[in-house]
């Protein structure tokens, strides 16, 4: 048995949730780990921390509770301090951000798919459009120059 498992069972024992039979089994298992056995007996003798903090009566806090209520009322009355929009934005953003982004991607895909595609068949025209699209006369001059050059 692993030490961590035994530590968890010691915690169960000190939480008071083990049966007498389970406690006997735990004590047997602890014989293999003498240091853990010492810890077990020490822990079982600890005073209960709950005893250090007795439960206070509710009436002691009436003034503090009223103070908080007053502050909340002031928050509500302060103009421009309405948290509704802020809250809604956060909640809506978290909830619908993914759905909204998917919708945008789908819509743009559909629009681009529906648009007519300009078809090119003549490769020479395509190359001319690509390389000499701005000034056709320069392109012609350049081609003529190349022709001259190769003919020579």
């Amino acid at each position: 048995m692993k030490r961590t498992e035994l530590e968890a069972r010691i915690t169960d024992a000190s939480d008071g949730i083990l049966t007498p039979e389970e406690i006997r089994q735990l004590e047997t298992d602890l014989q293999v780990f003498p240091d853990l056995q010492d810890d077990y007996y020490t822990i079982m003798k600890l005073p209960e921390p709950e005893a250090a903090y007795p439960k206070p009566g509710n009436e002691l806090f009436t003034a503090r509770i009223n103070e908080i209520r007053k502050q909340i009322a002031e928050e509500v009355e302060t103009p421009g301090n309405n948290p509704a929009f802020y809250e809604l934005s956060l909640v809506w953003f978290k909830r619908y951000a993914l759905a909204a982004s998917l919708l945008i991607v789908t819509m743009t895909s559909v629009i681009s798919w529906l648009q007519p595609v300009q078809e090119y068949t003549d490769t020479a025209t395509i190359m001319n459009d690509l390389f000499y699209s701005l000034d056709e006369s320069d392109a012609d001059a350049y081609v003529a120059y190349l022709d001259d050059f190769t003919l020579d």
Partner: protein, 173 residues
């Protein structure tokens, strides 16, 4: 009970303030951070964030998470102050303390001091489990730590608590 709204908030404060005060007092014992200030900020923040409360967790564990985060923020702000208490034992007393006798009083104050000397991670579990009486699944909701790890930390916390009490000279036989 369904998901509470802002209209239920008055009742939420009234039902949770005393319990939360006791728990946060234990968590903050020995530090200079005032539980009343933390609780005031906790309820104001909770009121503002009420729309984000999904209702999956209990309202108390949700409030406790807010309060704990505020305490941690406050510790960060006051980094120069050591989190470990250097206050005299008497200053661990609260307005609502009811001690049965002088011996009992001294013993309980030492136990408070010992709890306050635990590291934050271990102190949180001792406060939530042993003082507040929450279950491990509820503590998991607050801390985000799985139950097996929580039990191992509880083991370490009790071991350290025993060591601190021994060093204080408290007889545990």
């Amino acid at each position: 009970m369904g998901k509470p709204g802002k209209s239920d908030f008055d009742k939420i404060i009234e039902e949770n303030y005393p319990r939360l005060h006791r728990s946060i007092s234990a968590y903050l014992a020995g530090s200079s951070v005032e539980p009343d200030d933390i609780l005031q900020d906790t309820f104001l923040k909770a009121w503002k964030k009420m729309g984000q409360f999904e209702g999956d967790s209990g309202i108390y564990t949700w409030l406790y998470s807010i309060a704990r985060n505020l305490c941690i923020d406050e510790f960060r702000k006051r980094k120069h102050e050591k989190n470990i208490s250097s206050k005299p034992v008497e200053e661990f007393e609260f307005a609502w303390d009811q001690f049965t006798g002088e011996d009992n009083r001294e013993e309980l104050l030492l136990l408070r001091k010992a709890i306050s000397q635990l590291p934050e991670l271990l102190r949180t579990i001792v406060v939530l489990k042993s003082i507040d009486g929450l279950t491990y699944p509820e503590i998991e909701e607050i801390t985000g730590v799985n139950q097996q790890t929580l039990k191992n930390r509880m083991f370490r916390a009790r071991k350290e608590l025993a060591e601190i009490l021994k060093n204080m000279g408290v007889d545990q036989t």
